[in-house]
Symmetry: C2
Amino acid sequence: MVIFRGFSASGISRTRSMDSRPTIETETLRFLLDFARSEGLSAHWDAGRNVVFSLPEHERAKHYILVGSHVDSVPRGGNYDGLAGVLAGLMCLVKARRGGEPLAQPVKVIAMRGEESAWFGPCYIGSKALLGVLSEKELGVRHKEDNSTLDAHMEAVGIDMTSVRASRPLLDRKAVAAYLEVHIEQGPVLIERNLPVAVVSGVRGNFRYKKISCFGEAGHSGAVPLAYRHDPVLAMAELLNSLDVAWHDFASKGRDLVVTSGMVSTDRAKHALSRIPDSVEFSLDVRSQDDEMLQNMHDLVLRHAERIERERNVRFDFGDVLWTKPALCHRQLIAELTRSAEALGLEPAIVASGGGHDAAVFSQAGIPTGMVFIRNRNGSHNPHEAMEIGDFEIATSVLYEFLITLQKSGANKQRKPVPC
Amino acid sequence: MVIFRGFSASGISRTRSMDSRPTIETETLRFLLDFARSEGLSAHWDAGRNVVFSLPEHERAKHYILVGSHVDSVPRGGNYDGLAGVLAGLMCLVKARRGGEPLAQPVKVIAMRGEESAWFGPCYIGSKALLGVLSEKELGVRHKEDNSTLDAHMEAVGIDMTSVRASRPLLDRKAVAAYLEVHIEQGPVLIERNLPVAVVSGVRGNFRYKKISCFGEAGHSGAVPLAYRHDPVLAMAELLNSLDVAWHDFASKGRDLVVTSGMVSTDRAKHALSRIPDSVEFSLDVRSQDDEMLQNMHDLVLRHAERIERERNVRFDFGDVLWTKPALCHRQLIAELTRSAEALGLEPAIVASGGGHDAAVFSQAGIPTGMVFIRNRNGSHNPHEAMEIGDFEIATSVLYEFLITLQKSGANKQRKPVPC
């Protein structure tokens, strides 16, 4: 199994997303470009100032499989988020160039910028620009430190902003037969299931409320009997518990769903041990691969909230909601990647992705998309990300097996993503 | 019914508890002393530097009914908490002195210091000193601003600290046939039930946890399926909801109980919309007049917490618990006060007290204790306390009716408090 020794991602420092100042993002891309050329690969900057690698003979291919991920990370992020996937693709090209089995179709590997939201707010800036779906609103957001716009930073980086502003893709979408992404898992599923890699079924969509307020009536904790009490904390507890019960129920039926309230707080300026608070604030983040599941849960949130408002005489103010649609991986690519894993003697496994990835942008643009997760300890977006290099080698082997065996008639046959 | 016109508590500014600097507490006592003497009443400072009023002929009575409350309040408190009760007693003496129906037994009215916890922490400092139950630990607590001890402040006020330190009562407990206290209600029950006054059944005891921590495991909100999730917020929600369900059940069976979590918070330094938090903190305050009910609820809290820890693989750290035993009013005094209210044509009503009162200290010292609540809008310990003067007059009339009709053979017959 050990076919990709000798390259560790951990030697590379990490990066700032789409920041026009001389950044580690650009330095990393230059490092990779030099490395690829030193291996005899073709490597060039694209119109999005990403770097695209291929075998020299595939540089001008009219149709190709695109393999990629991002090189940027978050402040105090780890070594493997994004970059491991870029290297997995690059290692496949190196292996093919060094005389491994030939690739079944032309393959291009892309090292993208700006996947993270750390500096501007929006995610997937690089892949959205590439596919012509970066909105005017997104281009107008400002850098958290220097306050100039994303548009200005992208222009300074050298990106073709005339196309980006006009929502014109920076690549020929029809040339891309499929998009493949290898990425570290950002949750614990592969660790818990003791699997080095898994094929991804799709990226969960979500609806998110950043600040739900519940308003009740303040009072002395000892002096207000149940009949006259309008307690926002107990109202919140009932709502969250109702959603939790529903989650357990759906999960037991095999439905894909996760429910999180990451932030809860009574008002520190007023709250006290012996005071019924007049309000509480909390967040809600509900995710699923299944759009219908998300709609069901959203209906359930509102229905429970209305019932609780009525029964307790409290009031919920939900504030703004953010919806992100699920992005499904392509059924045939899932099958092919699974077959590739099995061909290497691996236990086949398909898991959902909780975090978002560039793959979601490609899937939503109608390009058949596949993903492979690598086992990773300690979650992601923190310095303790811990991918074993052996697991990286296994993931890269699965990708290589896929690229050398994929039939030309494959993914493009059925472009509509379907649930897995 | 209008028999106590012409005296409004709202003219008197409020006070700092047991603070030895020249305070409004002392000023208020002086004001009342002067007023009482101007009405031909006996008035003097006692060994606790409270002021005691009586008809001149009762000044040296060997047995008497003690009527009282406190003159101190909290920072930004209202006009009526405590002081209304002192005035109700004083008004009864004035009426008797001015030729009203004679009192059935000698009556002394006491205007006490230091009921509130605002400056030192402990409550009921004045009544505890009076009854010889102020602990060494309590005497050692320090003023929140000048940092000198309660003991030092009390000594500077002129209190007989030799007795207080030796836990010797400052009054002859056997001389006190009963203790009566009129007080504004600090909850909404009389407002909600449209009653001007009610007889109090007792002061709720409680157990209180100021900071319960629940520890789980952090993660990406989208990336951790139910099977691997250890979410402290949903664990807290389940615990609080379980207690809430139990409360509804007990309340439906007529059991006296209130449950409050006044403070809840995830860690602001770490929490985020898309992060499963690793911990959450919350308070818990459970009160009842019924000691067995409190024990049951405490068992229930621990039982649910253990179950939830097991089921969710989270951990609760309960920290310190504070227990306060319920203080029941005397059954015969409740009956007599109810009869007095009925004699005035009022609807009889008995309610529990959620907040603590000096009455609880007298009850716990074995002195038969009775209380009357006055309707009060907007809760207490805030500048919006709103007692109607007409309701004050009704409460004072009930007290007067009680004092002119109580049989000498009354309360002292049965000294053991029993539940109502």
